[in-house]
């Protein structure tokens, strides 16, 4: 009974792989169910039936869906995401720049929001039922309730239009220094931080309070431990797994769910790319974006599960 951790982690990774396969299946067939014929849309209303038939053959559209799925998966494994229907550029080229942008924004938001949210959540739990706790709780509920487009629009209105401190559009601004980076990313990052932090604050507060009510924390109190010690040494290690899950769920939003923020700040991220792809019926691009979102989501959730496994002494 040495340690079950390696086998548990391995099985968790296997589950992730199986999930990814199922998801790829779902993504492919969901996109093929989209109404309208791709060849007709690409060639326009005036195209001759012969031209459309020719294009269909060239794009393998006349072959069975299952076969196309196999082609597609095989391509994915070789790093070939296919060619965009709309502008005949390899999907990989289209995505790479956008993905980097999205990851940059998500990374910056993570750096700001996770420490902020955890600190607020844990300290609120530590001073439970005090004025501080009430302020944090009310503020988070308030922030959850305000839709992100309102936050983003207000931010633009105040900081860009009236105060003129920050550029309204992130992308047009050239980033050449650290101060420049701050100016370009301040508003989208703050808006996203608002959106993702609230859930993390509430979950970490609840998880820590849950463990603070256990007999072993009472025991530590009766050993003379101070409040920070109670929370940091006794409660937090046992609350790690629900907190990790809350963080993972919140962060997964930063990949695919930021379309509104990207639109308002005209930020060229991957979510915007996908929405554009839907309007041009660019199937390979839609599929690739969807796969990236699912992959990121699975990565985060699996990471949270692994943290939960590692933090459980019973499995050591």
């Amino acid at each position: 009974m040495k340690s079950r951790v390696p086998s548990l982690i391995l099985s968790r990774l296997l589950i992730a792989l199986v999930t990814l396969t199922i998801v790829s299946f779902a993504v492919f067939f969901a996109t093929t169910l989209l109404p309208g014929d791709t060849a007709t849309i690409l060639l326009g209303q005036a195209a001759t039936p012969e031209a459309i038939a020719g294009l269909r053959t060239a794009m393998h559209l006349d072959e069975p869906a299952l076969l196309r799925f196999v082609y597609w998966i095989a391509g994915l494994f070789q790093g070939d995401l296919g060619t965009s229907y709309a502008n005949h550029v390899p999907v990989a080229t289209l995505i790479s720049g956008r993905l980097a942008n999205t990851l940059k924004l998500a990374g910056l938001t993570t750096l700001v929001s996770v420490p902020l949210a955890l600190t607020l959540g844990i300290t609120a739990a530590m001073w439970r039922r005090t004025l501080y706790d009430r302020i944090v709780t009310v503020a988070t509920i308030g922030i959850i309730s305000v839709p992100e487009f309102v936050v983003a629009t207000l931010a633009v209105l105040v900081f860009a239009v009236y105060l003129k401190w920050l550029p309204a559009l992130s992308f047009t601004y050239q980033v050449d220094s650290f101060a420049g980076l701050l100016r370009a990313y301040a508003m989208p990052v703050v808006t996203l931080t608002f959106v993702v932090s609230a859930q993390m604050i509430r979950m970490s507060r609840a998880a820590v309070i849950e463990t603070l009510n256990t007999p072993y924390v009472e025991m530590a109190l009766l050993k003379g431990a101070s409040r920070p010690r109670l929370v940091l040494r006794h409660a937090l290690p046992n609350a790690l797994s629900p907190i990790a899950n809350a963080v993972a769920l919140s962060l997964s939003y930063l990949l695919g769910g930021v379309i509104i923020v990207e639109t308002i700040f005209n930020y060229p991220g991957i979510a915007k790319l996908m929405v554009d792809a839907v309007s041009t019926r660019d199937l390979p691009l839609i599929q690739s974006c969807a796969m990236i979102f699912c992959f990121g989501y699975l990565l985060l959730i699996t990471a949270a599960d692994i943290v939960a496994i590692l933090s459980n002494p019973r499995l050591r």
């Binding site: 530590a220 009766l222 050993k223 003379g224 040494r233 290690p237």
Partner: protein, 548 residues
């Protein structure tokens, strides 16, 4: 001359759901000298734990110390600031919790938690603290004292954790230690070892102890004086001898009486009845996926045979994990046995309850230990009792109502309770409802699985009396499972001792038969007696047996 602990006019208040404060300790006075052990005794809800915790300057969330002084070593714990109290906790006053298993942080090693007091109060360098802890582990006769500290709490047994919790309390060299029901969750055989270890260590260091318990016999072994509490007020305080032999207060007398359950009051079992009601032959049952040989992975009951004659009672006794509850579940068919025969009323029963006929199910009822979890909290008592009436007897409407009333009468509950939900009843009342539900089926045999274990002595004694009375009236048979010998002796005609899934001995109490098997001897000798010298004079043969 001032005492180490002086409590004067102590009152504690608790807040109710409506936000009012009500007094739960009503003016307590007590002195404890250095090296003296005082026991707080009383039923659950009497305020004994609350009173003991005030010595730490602590009241559980929702409670507050509202008046009086609690002077410990010259300082009033009630009026100190939180920071000053924290400085005294662990160093002057230490606490040993009721459930050590819950009081250890699952995410830290035992050693880290045992020496945490020295780290918090900066008493000594960690290495010295570790050496001290190991010395304490030796003194508390823990197995593997040098290595046990590196383990996590879940890797250690309950009895060991309880002793480790004592080590955790003693490491800071406190002057007063509070033991909060430290052996209640343990088997009697383990309890003896733990009590011995506590007694030896505290006597050697001349530590004053407050020992909270509801078990008079345990208290008699360990205390110098006893304070009897009820409803937050002191009923009686006196030396152990006085309380045990010359109790003055009626409640104390009731407590003492409950300790000697009535063994009489039952009609003599019918003799010469040839056909047994229940006969079990080489029954095996267990848990886990079936193995290639057809047996489950863990075999909890191995080849048990027993007989219950009509109108008689069979007791099954053994320590936790010996398979006694599994046996009950196998007889009831909840956990189908993997091997063996169950004959009931002359007919062979299926192993699985799902295949038994409704009539067979009706004849054989089971009552579970925890009425709290066995009764659906969302249903009224009426619904709970009415369901088996409709299921087995097809009763509806007025007939059903009348029968529910009759059942409540039978278990001595007021009829007005029928509209309440389980959460609105006391522990004893819930157990009565739990039992009435089994009676509703009009069974021939009732399996009682530790039905008195979660109850106070006085309440448990009342339940036992009820069981006897119903047996007289309805001619029932019981299989009574318990780890408490006195309860079993009070009601059973025959006792089976189980150990590691097997029956080791059958004893007939009325024949004054002495146990023969080493394990039953150990079990019977481990049951605490009211005699204060019992623990000290307890035959050390028991220790030899333990090794064997």
């Amino acid at each position: 001359m001032t005492n180490l602990v002086e409590i004067r006019g102590l009152t504690v208040e608790a807040t109710t759901d409506s936000g009012r404060w009500i007094q739960i300790l009503k003016g307590i006075d007590l002195d404890i000298a250095a090296g003296e052990t005082v026991a707080f005794i009383g039923e659950s809800g009497s305020g004994k734990t609350t009173a003991a915790m005030t010595l730490l300057g602590y009241a559980r969330p929702g409670c507050r110390i509202s008046g009086g002084t609690v002077r410990v070593d010259g300082r009033d714990m009630a009026s100190l600031s939180e920071k000053e109290r924290a400085a005294l906790r662990g160093t002057t006053v230490a606490y040993v919790p009721q459930s050590a298993a819950a009081a250890f942080n699952p995410a830290a090693t035992i050693m880290d938690q045992v020496i945490e007091v020295t780290r918090i109060h900066r008493l000594m360098p960690p290495d010295e603290a570790r050496r001290r802890a190991v010395a304490l582990f030796h003194a508390l006769s823990l197995p593997d004292p040098d290595g046990i500290g590196d383990r996590y709490p879940h890797q250690v047994s309950g009895g060991q954790l309880q002793r480790l919790a004592a080590a955790m309390a003693l490491i800071g060299d406190p002057k007063v230690v509070i033991f909060d029901e430290p052996t209640t969750a343990l088997d009697v055989t383990t309890q003896v070892e733990v009590l011995r270890a506590f007694k030896a260590v505290t006597a050697k260091r001349r530590i004053a102890c407050v020992y909270v318990s509801h078990d008079l016999a345990v208290v008699a072994q360990i205390a110098d004086r006893i304070m009897v509490l009820r409803n937050g007020a002191v009923q009686e305080t006196g030396s152990v001898d006085d309380i045990l032999t010359r109790p003055t207060h009626p409640y104390t007398k009731e407590l003492l009486h409950a300790f000697h359950p009535d063994t009489g009051g039952r009609s003599a079992p019918p003799v010469g009845d040839a056909a047994p009601l229940l006969e079990i032959k080489t029954l095996s049952a267990g848990y886990g996926p079936p193995q290639p040989n057809g047996q489950p992975l863990v075999l909890a009951v191995q080849g048990v045979s027993l007989q219950v004659k009509r109108g008689t009672n069979l007791g099954i006794i053994g320590e936790s994990g010996c398979g006694k509850s599994t046996l009950a579940r196998a007889i009831a068919g909840i956990l189908p046995a993997c091997k063996g025969d169950i004959q009931f009323d002359g007919r062979e029963l299926w192993h699985s309850a799902g295949q038994r006929s409704r009539e067979q199910l009706r004849d054989l009822q089971i009552v579970f230990q925890h009425a709290d979890t066995a009764l659906n909290p969302a249903k009224s008592i009426e619904d709970i009792l009415g369901r088996p009436l409709t299921f087995y007897h097809g009763l509806r409407g007025k007939a059903r109502d009348a029968r529910v009333d009759a059942l409540l009468d039978m278990v001595h509950l007021p009829r007005a309770l029928r509209h309440r939900r389980p959460a609105e009843l006391s522990g004893g009342q819930k157990q009565r409802v739990n039992f009435a539900r089994a009676l509703a089926a009009e069974p021939k045999l009732i399996l009682c699985d530790e039905i008195t274990s979660a109850l106070d002595t006085v309440v448990a004694a009342a339940i036992i009396d009820l069981l006897k009375e119903l047996q007289r009236e309805l001619g029932l048979s019981y299989i009574f499972i318990s780890h408490d010998l006195s309860v079993i002796e009070a009601i059973c005609d025959e006792i089976i001792v189980m150990y590691r899934g097997q029956t080791v001995e059958t004893i007939i109490p009325s024949a004054r038969q002495q146990p023969q098997h080493p394990y039953s001897q150990l079990l019977f000798s481990s049951v605490p007696k009211l005699d204060p010298t019992w623990l000290d004079t307890l035959n050390s043969d028991a220790d030899r047996m333990r090794v064997a």
